[in-house]
């Protein structure tokens, strides 16, 4: 094991990106007191269009506007990177649409049932030293690695 094996595309972009992400999450907390990941935005945004009681809980209705602003911020920040540094031919994934769609359904259901995703449990939960978040992270890392490796062997993309 050496650096080229662990990080075949280099490592500085990962660490720099992670530190900038941490700065963004820190800003949310220092300025507004907010702790939270991204998966809640799906539930809070659905509260605009469905009357089902789960979506109409005060905690979701009260957060739905600022969570959309947060999502808009993510899009704007990613767009700034695109202007600054994206390769000329752009970034377009070759993962097939049905893997994205089916995966997305599992992600939306699972993240809401688990109360968080890679940002909520992974960044905010670990940074709060929450044991349930650590267990959630280890669980989704395990199933994700299993599925990704099985899929890579069984499916010709």
């Amino acid at each position: 094991m050496n650096m080229a094996t662990l990080f075949p595309d280099g490592w500085t972009q990962f660490l720099a990106g992670g530190l900038i992400m941490g700065t963004g999450v820190s800003l949310l907390f220092v300025m507004a007191g907010i702790i939270g990941g991204m998966s809640s935005v799906f539930t809070t945004t659905l509260s605009y269009v469905t009357r089902a009681p789960h979506f109409q809980q005060q905690k979701f209705v009260n957060a739905r506007s600022w969570r959309l602003v947060l999502a808009a911020g993510l899009i704007a920040g990613a767009f700034a990177w695109r202007i600054w540094a994206a390769p000329a031919d752009g970034i377009v994934t070759t993962v097939p649409w049905w893997r994205l769609l089916a995966g997305g359904v599992c992600i939306g259901y699972g993240a809401r049932r688990a109360g968080g995703c890679t940002s909520g449990h992974g960044i905010c939960g670990l940074a709060s030293l929450q044991l349930p978040s650590l267990i959630a992270v280890l669980t989704f890392l395990a199933t994700a690695m299993l599925i990704a490796q099985v899929a890579a062997r069984m499916l010709a993309r």
């Binding site: 990080f7 490592w11 990962f14 720099a16 990106g17 900038i20 992400m21 941490g22 963004g24 999450v25 949310l28 907390f29 220092v30 300025m31 007191g33 702790i35 799906f42 539930t43 659905l46 089902a52 109409q56 600022w66 808009a72 911020g73 899009i75 704007a76 990613a78 700034a80 990177w81 695109r82 994206a86 752009g90 994934t93 994205l100 995966g103 359904v105 599992c106 992600i107 939306g108 259901y109 699972g110 049932r113 688990a114 109360g115 940002s119 992974g122 960044i123 905010c124 939960g125 940074a127 709060s128 349930p132 267990i135 959630a136 669980t139 989704f140 994700a144 690695m145 599925i147 899929a151």
Partner: protein
Amino acid sequence: MNAIRLASVFVGGALFGFGLALSTMVQPEVILAFLQWNNFGLLLVLGGAAGVTLLTYRFAPRLLARPLAGGQFNTHVSVMSRDTVIGAAIFGIGWGLSGVCPGPAVASIGVGNWPVLWAMAGMFAGAWIHGSLAKAE
């Protein structure tokens, strides 16, 4: 929420989205390479982000009485339950299948990685299924 808080949320989100794009987390191929143990960069992203955030969560409430733009400091409370474990396991299945998760899915719109909208549509559908089956607390 007042205008200064909303502006802070936008700027914080923008830093988050910029970091996701810079660290190539908006490319499902990079996530899948990590999950197949071919590139461990994701651990640096997660470690870097969680490390900075840990320091902030620790020290900001000691140095400041309240957030600079008003309100109060929230705390993160994760619940240990069957739902947390089962939900995380299902989340992982989706993550391993697609190489996408909620933050990068949203940021992908900004970088123009349009096929990821399939995953975004799936996430809305999955959250809708969850909320329709769940009881309101």
